[in-house]
């Protein structure tokens, strides 16, 4: 039994020895030329969309948008310490004159 398995393994391992190269189909050259022609006749929009459709480009764009959003959020939250103390005082909203804020008494 063991000899049979060993023999089968050896036969499988040697099965590609002396093999011939597979021949490309006869229409391959025509197919290549069609690929060359298609590449040459791509419009600018087709080239742009093909470029944008690449996963690397898409993921990079998403990463940039997320990074910009994160930057804006964190910058917006980082309030200077002086402002925090000032805002701790209660504000009388009814006496606040939006049109004359500069002349308000402290």
């Amino acid at each position: 039994m063991k000899e049979k398995i060993t023999s089968s393994v050896e036969q499988a391992m040697n099965s590609v020895d002396g093999m011939q190269r597979a021949q490309a189909p006869g229409y391959l050259y025509a197919k290549i030329l069609s690929g060359v022609y298609r590449r040459q006749t791509l419009t600018i929009w087709e080239r742009i969309s093909a470029f944008m459709a690449r996963p690397v480009v898409t993921l990079t764009c998403i990463a940039v948008v997320v990074a910009i959003n994160a930057l804006i959020i964190f910058k917006g939250n980082a309030v200077p310490a002086g402002n925090v103390i000032a805002s701790a005082e209660p504000v009388d909203f009814y006496s606040y004159d939006i049109y004359n804020a500069e002349n308000m008494e402290p």
């Binding site: 039994m1 049979k4 398995i5 089968s8 393994v9 036969q11 499988a12 391992m13 040697n14 099965s15 590609v16 020895d17 002396g18 093999m19 011939q20 190269r21 597979a22 021949q23 490309a24 189909p25 391959l28 050259y29 197919k31 290549i32 690929g35 060359v36 590449r39 040459q40």
Partner: protein, 189 residues
């Protein structure tokens, strides 16, 4: 060198028939390598088309035919890597792919294998598709393309000892998988 359409057209107009000669010279080499890597005729044709379109666009940059064959092997391997990666993902955003994934049983028959070896070769190809990528590449180039270890090393940009190590591990993995497969076959009878 800038790869503009003008440069490309100028080179092809100045060298009529050269590209066709190159395709005739190397199409079997590229197709056979892609077929060994992908084990699927349609995918191998598509890869060969991509590789030669890339060659067409880079024809004016080559100096000497030895450089072209090495370059063609590298581009073929890279394109095959892309296809294998797509298969591994299994699905695309528009739905499930029909191609087999790495674990599926394939019934691929290489046209260059001798008739009496076909059954065993099919089992070997199933073992081969389970190898890690670099081991598979080294095995295909060495065994199926018949390249010497030094040539494989140049194509894969590795040392000769590195490729020897890859081939040794590939043989070890293949033998182990084949042993398990044939043992399971005997036990089920």
């Amino acid at each position: 060198m800038a790869n503009t359409d003008d440069d490309i057209s100028r080179w092809h107009n100045a060298n009529p028939g050269v590209f066709e000669l190159w395709v005739n010279t190397w199409q079997d080499m590229v197709y056979n390598t892609a077929l060994g890597m992908l084990m699927n005729e349609t995918d191998a044709e598509d890869v060969a088309q991509d590789v030669f379109v890339a060659l067409y666009r880079n024809s004016h940059t080559f100096r000497g035919e030895a450089a072209i064959s090495t370059w063609l092997y590298r581009v073929t391997i890279n394109r095959c890597t892309d296809v294998l990666r797509q298969r591994k993902r299994g699905k695309t955003w528009w739905g499930k792919r029909e191609e087999p994934s790495a674990g599926d049983w394939i019934t691929f028959e290489h046209p260059g294998v001798l008739a009496e070896n076909k059954d065993h070769a099919t089992v070997l190809f199933n073992a081969l598709q389970r190898l890690p990528h670099h081991q598979r590449t080294a095995f295909v180039l060495n065994k199926m393309e018949g390249l010497r270890v030094a040539e494989v090393a140049e194509i894969m940009k590795r040392s000769v000892s590195g490729v020897e190590s890859l081939l040794s591990r590939a043989n070890q993995h293949l033998r182990q998988w084949l042993k398990n497969y044939y043992e399971a076959q005997v036990n089920t009878k």
